[in-house]
Symmetry: D2
Subunit: 425 residues, 4 copies
Amino acid sequence: MRSPIPDYLTDVLRAVEPDQSGATADYIPELAQADPDRLAAALCTVDGHVYSAGDATAAFSIQSISKPFAYALALADRGFDAVLEKVSVEPSGNAFNEMSVEPETGRPLNPMINAGAIATHSLTGPLGATPDERVARVIDGLSAFAGRRLEIDESVYHSEIRHAYRNRSLANMLRAYDIIADDPLVAVAGYTRQCSVLVTTEDLAVMAGTLANRGVNPLTGRPVVSAEVVRQTLSVMATCGMYDGAGDWMTRVGVPAKSGVAGGLIGALPGQVGIATFSPRLDRHGNSVRGADLFTRFTADMGMHLMEVPPAGPSAIRSRRIIGPADDEVALFSLQGDLRFAAAERVVREFQENPPEQSRVAISLRRVFSIDAVARRMVLEAVRRLTLDGHDVYLIDPDTVLPDPDPGTGGRVQVLHDLETFDTP
Amino acid sequence: MRSPIPDYLTDVLRAVEPDQSGATADYIPELAQADPDRLAAALCTVDGHVYSAGDATAAFSIQSISKPFAYALALADRGFDAVLEKVSVEPSGNAFNEMSVEPETGRPLNPMINAGAIATHSLTGPLGATPDERVARVIDGLSAFAGRRLEIDESVYHSEIRHAYRNRSLANMLRAYDIIADDPLVAVAGYTRQCSVLVTTEDLAVMAGTLANRGVNPLTGRPVVSAEVVRQTLSVMATCGMYDGAGDWMTRVGVPAKSGVAGGLIGALPGQVGIATFSPRLDRHGNSVRGADLFTRFTADMGMHLMEVPPAGPSAIRSRRIIGPADDEVALFSLQGDLRFAAAERVVREFQENPPEQSRVAISLRRVFSIDAVARRMVLEAVRRLTLDGHDVYLIDPDTVLPDPDPGTGGRVQVLHDLETFDTP
Amino acid sequence: MRSPIPDYLTDVLRAVEPDQSGATADYIPELAQADPDRLAAALCTVDGHVYSAGDATAAFSIQSISKPFAYALALADRGFDAVLEKVSVEPSGNAFNEMSVEPETGRPLNPMINAGAIATHSLTGPLGATPDERVARVIDGLSAFAGRRLEIDESVYHSEIRHAYRNRSLANMLRAYDIIADDPLVAVAGYTRQCSVLVTTEDLAVMAGTLANRGVNPLTGRPVVSAEVVRQTLSVMATCGMYDGAGDWMTRVGVPAKSGVAGGLIGALPGQVGIATFSPRLDRHGNSVRGADLFTRFTADMGMHLMEVPPAGPSAIRSRRIIGPADDEVALFSLQGDLRFAAAERVVREFQENPPEQSRVAISLRRVFSIDAVARRMVLEAVRRLTLDGHDVYLIDPDTVLPDPDPGTGGRVQVLHDLETFDTP
Amino acid sequence: MRSPIPDYLTDVLRAVEPDQSGATADYIPELAQADPDRLAAALCTVDGHVYSAGDATAAFSIQSISKPFAYALALADRGFDAVLEKVSVEPSGNAFNEMSVEPETGRPLNPMINAGAIATHSLTGPLGATPDERVARVIDGLSAFAGRRLEIDESVYHSEIRHAYRNRSLANMLRAYDIIADDPLVAVAGYTRQCSVLVTTEDLAVMAGTLANRGVNPLTGRPVVSAEVVRQTLSVMATCGMYDGAGDWMTRVGVPAKSGVAGGLIGALPGQVGIATFSPRLDRHGNSVRGADLFTRFTADMGMHLMEVPPAGPSAIRSRRIIGPADDEVALFSLQGDLRFAAAERVVREFQENPPEQSRVAISLRRVFSIDAVARRMVLEAVRRLTLDGHDVYLIDPDTVLPDPDPGTGGRVQVLHDLETFDTP
C-alpha cells in the first residue's frame, strides 16, 4: 500500500503553489536572490519517520528558526533562573526589528525577538565560554536537534553581517544595560553565525520533532534537552513565536511555531509530530505566506490545534465485576485507555462512591496503555486508602504500565500478571 | 474509601493560606469591603463531578471572568467574522485599564481587556437586540455555562457604575471609532451588569468545565456553545487572559485562564477539567495572589501544562498476526489506545512498509478507545488503498469506536464484532 | 496718504489665495459645510488700531483658539499653582485628539491639547463655580479679550456635542484620575460651548493684541489678565500651540500661535502686534493651510521671529562731557534709547571703567525712551554706588522716564528737568 | 565705582551654594570623579564684556552643550535643507538617552537628543570630509564661538568612549536608516571627541554671547555663523534644549538654553547677553540643579524672559509741528526711539489719518536710535506715497540711522543733517 501521507503533502503543496504574494527579504542580499518559487513541507513523527514533499532537501539558512533551539540550549546550559534574569517571556506585540526591552532593566521581552535572541545566544555554553566556544556549542546543539552535522553558510553570514546595523544597535543597547557582557560586535557576529546555519525542510521537521518528542531526537534517539526545557520553549513559541500576529496564529493554527526570514516555518505538536515548511516569500510580518497557509491547512486537516478538545473517549472504567469463589470474592475493576488526571479521577471517584464490599480488590491495568505521573499518584493513593479501609489490593499489570508501585505509608499492594490467582480456590 | 481529591484541595488551600500579600481592589467600594481572607478552590470534571474546598459556595461578583464567556456568546450569536471585525485577538502587553486599541481603526486588541470586553458585550444577542435584551442574553448565557440561574448583585452594580469613568472613557472612544453603535453610557451600564453577576467558586468551576468539555455543560449535559467557539475562546484566554503576565502564566502554569478583580480565577484543561479558585487579595497585575499560587501548584501536581508532552505510550500496533486456516490466511493487525494523528500515521506506515501478503486483512479496534477525526480519515484511507491493492478488508470493532465507516471511492470494508468469522472454515 | 499696511495685507492674501490644498474639518458637520474659500487677515496694534483685509468680519467658531485664552482666565481665576497641579506645560508631540496625559497622574501634558483644554475649562471661574457660571465666565472673559460681547453659535454647539465622543472619552479619563471633579458630560458640554463662541478675524486680532499688550485690551484699554499670566500663556503657545509641528513652527515662524479647526489662526508678537488669519482648509495637523502660509510671510516681511536679533543700536551712552564752571565741573553722561539689561550694563561699566573725577555727576535721560525694571534697578544701584564714592548725583529726566528714583541705603539723587542748574554759577 | 554686576553674580552664587541636591553623572567615570561643589556663573555682553564669579575659569568637558553649536556649524556647512533632511526640529518629550527617531524614516526628532547630535556631527564640514576633518572642523568651530583655541580632554574622551554603548546603539540604528553614512563606531568616536572639548564657564558665556550677538563673536568681532543660522539654532534650543522639561523651562526661565552632563548650562538672550553657569550635580532630567536655579533667578532679576513684554515706551512720534516761514511751511514729524514694526506702523498711521496740509514734509530721525528692516521699508514706503500725494519729503538724519534711503518707484526724498535749511527763507 502506498502511504496516503506523501500524497496528502503533495496535494496540499499543489493547493498553495499558485499564491505568489509576498516578497523575499530584501535587506539581506543573499536572501533577496533566493529562488522565491521553492516550496516544501515535511513531517517528522515522534518515532522518527520523516515524510516530505517538494524541495524538502534544498538547503537554506535557518535564520530566526534558530531562536527557540538556541533558547532551549541556553536553558539547558545555564538553567532557568540565569536565562530568565536576562530575557523575559512576554509577547512583545511588535515587529521583529523593534527594540522591545523592559524600560528600566533593558531586559528583552522574549527570546523570539532579535534583542532577546542576541541575549540568548550569549547565554549558550558554559559560564565563561569564549564567543567561539559559544558558536561551536550552538552549531553542535542545532545539529543534535537535526540529527546530522549542520554547517554555516559563510556567504550568507558575510552578506548579513555587512548590514547588521540594527542588530548591532540592539547589541550595544543590551551591553549598555549589562544584559550581555560581550563586546557587542562579537555578540552580533556569533548570533549572525547562528542564523546562517544551513538546513533543509526535512532537518527542520526533525528539529521540531525533537521538541514534540520531549527533547529526544526521534531519528537518533539521543536526548538533546530535558522535557522541562522543551515545555518552556514550546510555551514561549506559543505566545511569542509569530511576532505581532501571535494571537491570530494561536486562534487559527493553534500550534507553537517559529518562522525564519529565509522562508522556513516550523511547528511542534507535543507528543505527536514536528512540522516544517519552506517558501521564501514573506508577508508584512516577516512570515512565509505559503508556509502560514500550509499550517492553517494542516491544522484543519490534522486536528492539531492545541485547544481542540478530542471527543470524550469511553469511561476509564471498562467494567466492574465480582470474580473468584463465592466465599472469597474479589471486586475486579478493569481500567482502560491512557490514564491522565481526568481518567484517574473517575477511577478514584468510583471507589469513593461505590466502595467495594469485598475484602479483596483487584485493579486490572491490562487495557491501560499509559499512566502519567499524576494518574499514577492518584491510583497509588487510592490503593493506600483501600488498604487503610481494610482491603487487600491487587494490581493486574501484565505489561508493567505502572512499574514499582509504592502506595506509601500504610498502603500495600500485590502485583499480578493475570487473574489466575483468583480462579484457583 | 474517602477520595483523596478533596483532601488534596484542602491541603493545597492550607499551604497557600498564610500568604496575606496583595490587596483587594480599592477602586470599587463594594469590592474593597470584601472579606480578604476568604479562600476556595473547586474542580469540575468533564463528566460533571464537582470537587471543592474552602469557601466554595460563597458568592462574589464574576467581574472580568465574564469576559471569555461573553466572548463565546458573541461568537455564537454573531459569528466569527462579525466579532473579529470589531475585536482583535492579539496580546496587549498592557495593564487592564489601558486603552489598548489599534491606532487607525480603534479596534480593541483583544476581548480580555476592558475596551475589548465592552465591545464584545455589545456583540451579544442577535443583531438589533436592545441593550436590555443583550444584558438578558448575557445573564442567560452565563447561567447556561454555570448550570444554574445566576443573578446580578445590584449593590455591586451600583457601586461600580458610580465610578465607571475609565470604562466610560473607553466606551466613548469605541463609539468615536464606530466600534460600538450604542450610547456609550448604555454600553457601560450593560457591561457593568455583566460584571456584577454573582457566582460561587463552584459555579466558576462548572463554567470552566463547560469550556473543557467542548462547550457542553458537564452538569446539565446541555450544549452552550459550539466546539469551534470554545477553541477560539480558549486560544484567546491562552494568549491574553492574564493581562500583561500572559507569557509568564503560559510558561509557569500553561493553562488557558482568566482572573477577575473580585478574586476569582478560572482555568480550563481541554478534555479534562475546569478549575476555579477564589481569594480576593490581588497582585499589582490585578490577579489573585493566592489564586495564582494555587494554579501553579495544580500544574505541578496534576500535570496540566498544555506543553507537557505525555510520555510516549506503547505502539498503536499491539500485534500483527496471521490467523485463520492455512489456505485462507488473514493478516490481523490489532491496534490499541487512543488514535490521534501520530498513532494513525504509525498504522498507515506499517501497511506501507510491510504490506500484508494475505488477501484478507483485518484491523482490530477492540483495544482502541477513541479515534479522532484525522485518525479516522487516515484509517479509512488506508482501508481504501488496501482495497485498491486487491485486499478484502475487515474492521473488528465490537464497541463501535469507528461508526459508519466509509472508505470512499474504490474502498470497501466489512465490519465484524469478533474474530470468529475467520475461525470457521 | 493711504496707509501701505492694508495694501500689504491685500497683496499677501492675494498671494496665498490660489492654494486650495487641505480640507475643512469633516468630523463636525457644521464645520464641514463652511465655505472653504473664505480668507482673511487682520492685525491689531498694541495701541488699538486694527488693519484687516478679506472676509475679516465674517463670523466663525473660535474652536481651539479659545484654549490659550481660557488658560489665561484659569490662571487669573485660580492662580498658577492650582492650574499647574492639574495641567502641565510640556509639548505633547502628538496629534490633537490623542490622550496625552502623564501616565501616573493623568495630568494632561499641556492646555493646548483637548484633554488639557477640558481640564482648563473646569478651572475657570472662582472655586465652587457652577458649570453654568464657568461657561458664563469664559464667555465674559473671551469677550473682554475681544473688546466686544461675543455669543455662542448654538447650531455649531449642537453639531459638535452630538459627536463629542472623543472629548467625552477624555473627560471620563480625567474624571477617573480626579483631574476634573465635574460630571464628564457636563465638563464636555461646557468646553464645547467655549469652542462654539463666534468670532471674526478682527476679533481674533484684538484678542491676540491683548496678549501682545501685556493683557490690556488695546481697544478698550481695560486690563483682562495680568502680565504674568500673559507671559505664561505666550510661553505655552510657543512650545505647544501648533500641535505636533511646534518645533517646525518655532523655527519657521517664531511667534507664539494657536490654530482652530474652523480655520482661524492667531499669533502674538509681544509688545507689538496681534495677528489673526482665517481660511478653513486644514492640513493633516489640523492647522489652516493658507493661514500657516500667511504667518510664514508675515514673519519674513515683518521681522516678527522671536529669535530674530535686531541689529545692534548705537551705544546707550550718547556722549560724556564736562560741563559747568571750571571750579565746579559736572561730569555729564547722556544716555539714549530704550534701556534694558544690555544697555544698563554698558552704562554701569562706563562708571566702573572710567570713573568720573568730578564730584558732581549728572546722568541725562532726555534721550531715553523707556527703562525696564532691571535697567532701572541697575541705574539706581549705580547712583547709590556713585554716592558712596563721594559724588553728588543728578538725574536729568524732563519726561520722567524714571519716576520716583530711590537709590536705596546710602544713595542720594537729585532730579532735574534740564541742565540749566549747572550753567548758573 | 565698583560695578554691581560682579557683586550680583557673587550674591546669587552664594544664594544657591547650600543646595547640594542632585548627583554628578555616574555613568562616565571621569565625570563621576568631578568635584561636585564647584560653582560658577558668567555673562558675556554683546559688545564683548565678560563678567564672572566663582570657579569661572575651571575647565570641564562641554558635553551636550556642544550640540547647538555643532548644529549651527552643520547648518552653515551644509545648508538648511541638507540638515533638515536628516534631523528634524520637534520636541521629543523624552529623556536624553532614548532613541527618539521618526518611526518610518529613522530621522532623529531634533539635534539636541543624542541620536540627533550624532547625526548632526556627521553633517559638519564640507560634503565628503573625512571623519578626522569633521572633528577638526567642529573643534575649530567651537573655538571660533569661544574666541580662543579649545582642546579635547583625552582622558574624558577615553573614559566616555569605553562605555559609549548607548551612543553606539543609536549610531548603528542611524546607519541602518541611512541617516548617517559613516561606520557607526567612527561616528560615535567623532561625536564623543566633540563632547570632550574642554571649556570654562567664561568660554561658555562667550559662546552663548556669540548666539546672542547674531553669530558674531563679541570678543573677537569675527563672524562665526550667519544670523539665519543663529535664529534656527536658538529656536531649536527654545523648544528642545532642556530635554523633557522644555515646557517648564520656557514658562519659568524663558530663554533658549542648553545643558551638559558635566554641569554646564548656557542661555542666550538675543541681542543682549550670553549666560553660562557651572555646577556638576544634576537633577533626574540630567540638568544642573544649581544651574537651573541660577537661571531662574537671572530671569526674575534681569527681565530676560522672551515672553516678557516690556512696558510700552512713549509714542514713536515725539512731536508734530509746523516750522519754516509762513508762506512756505514745513510739516515736521519728529520720531523717537527704536523703530520696529509697531513704531513704524504708528508713524504711517499718523500720515494716513492726519495727512499734512503743507507741501513740504520733514521727518526727523534725530531721536531715533535704530530702525529694523521692516520699519525701514515702511518709512520709505510712506515717503514714496507722500511723494505721490504731491509732497516734497525730507529726512532729517544727522546720525545716518537710515542710510541710503531709496523710496522706490515714484518716491523721492532729500536727506538733511539739520533743520537749518528750513529756517532760512
